[in-house]
Each structure stands twice: as structure tokens, then as C-alpha cells.
Symmetry: C2
């Protein structure tokens, strides 16, 4: 039986399926930001931003820390790397598949001077 990757990847992919949350991740990939800074360019209420942040935090993609009345959010690079690694590993397999096909075609193609 194929081995399942488990919950962390489920939550990470789920969190990244929303364009608003991806926009927040895009902003945070450029460095930490306060909730207000995150919300400023987004066409949604602050309350919606906070909800989306909660999803991102539960998925382990973002961490946040409150200092006084200001909450600062940071991208969790490790969780993003896990997502990237999963896709890259699939790519490794399909590239290998193409390489095998190429090698097969090279082997079986009629070639001049071949005996």
C-alpha cells in the first residue's frame, strides 16, 4: 500500500488553496509583517484576515507573536519547504520516466551504420 503523507501536508495544501491566504504567504515570504500590514493590500475585512491567519497558523505555515497590541507574523520556511519537497519529489519521478523513454527510443530507433 502506498504510504500516506499524513496530516501536515493535508493542512498545508488546504491552506494554500485560497488566493487570499496565498497572497498573505507571498507577502510574508518577503519578511515578517504585522496583521495590519498583511491586511492593508487585501480586499477583505481585518476579521477575515485574522480568520485566514488562523488557518495558516494551524497548517504550520505561519507563526505569530504578540508584542503589546501588535501581532507580527512570520512565514514558517520549514513547512513551505515540506510542500516544495513533495512536489519536487514527484517531478524527480516523472523526469526519470521521460529519461527512460528517451533512452528506450534512442536504443530502438533505426540508426545508420547499425548492425
Amino acid at each position: 500500500m502506498l504510504q500516506y503523507q499524513g496530516q501536515p501536508l493535508d493542512l498545508a495544501f488546504q491552506a494554500l488553496s485560497d488566493p487570499g491566504r496565498r497572497a498573505m504567504v507571498e507577502r510574508l515570504s518577503r519578511g515578517p509583517a504585522t496583521v495590519s500590514e498583511l491586511a492593508a493590500p487585501l480586499p477583505m475585512t481585518l476579521s477575515a484576515v485574522v480568520q485566514h491567519l488562523k488557518v495558516l497558523e494551524e497548517a504550520g505555515l505561519v507563526t505569530s507573536e504578540k508584542t503589546g497590541r501588535v501581532r507580527t507574523c512570520t512565514l514558517d520556511v520549514a513547512a513551505m519547504t515540506q510542500v516544495e519537497r513533495w512536489v519536487a519529489e514527484r517531478r524527480r519521478f516523472w523526469e526519470q520516466q521521460y529519461d527512460n523513454l528517451e533512452a528506450y527510443l534512442a536504443r530502438t530507433a533505426p540508426e545508420e551504420g547499425r548492425t
Copy 2:
């Protein structure tokens, strides 16, 4: 305003948030497979597999073709590449952020022989 990536990425990330669907993508990254071959190692009914396949096809991650009574599924490498590219682009930014920090620290760190 930050630009949204639009629907294709929404559907792709959503489709990949399920461990059963990721298992199918893992299988298909090794080459095309019939629906029965896809279903064989999975702890779910054939009908559930067909439902999951539908989600993967709607997300553009998989295409399928029916010959006689056999449906063969193939991974859509372009759609997977789009997902990988989105994550890789985020990485590019956070790595740059670290590089900038490193350069800043190198510039500001006390150094012997510095005037």
C-alpha cells in the same frame, strides 16, 4: 494590491490536500495507470477512487482517456509544475531576505582591523 493567482492554483492546491489524491499523483508520477491499477493499493472503494480522479481532473492535474472499457490516467506535468513554481518563487524571496540579513550582519559586525 497584491495580484491573485486565480482559480487554477486554488483547485490544484485543494486537490493535493487529500492524502488519497496525493497517493494517486505519486503513482502517476511514475507513469500512466489504469483506474484499476490506481485503485489497487488504496484503502478505498473503486467508486471513491473515481470521485477523487474527478477532482484531480477538474484541477487539471490529471488527464484520462478511455480505450474500450479501460480508462488510462496520466499526470499533467504542466499543472504540477505550476504548483512547484509558485512555492519555488516564494522560496526565492525568503532566501533573498536571508541573504540581505547576512549581508547586513557582515557589514555591521565588529571586525578586526576595521577602521
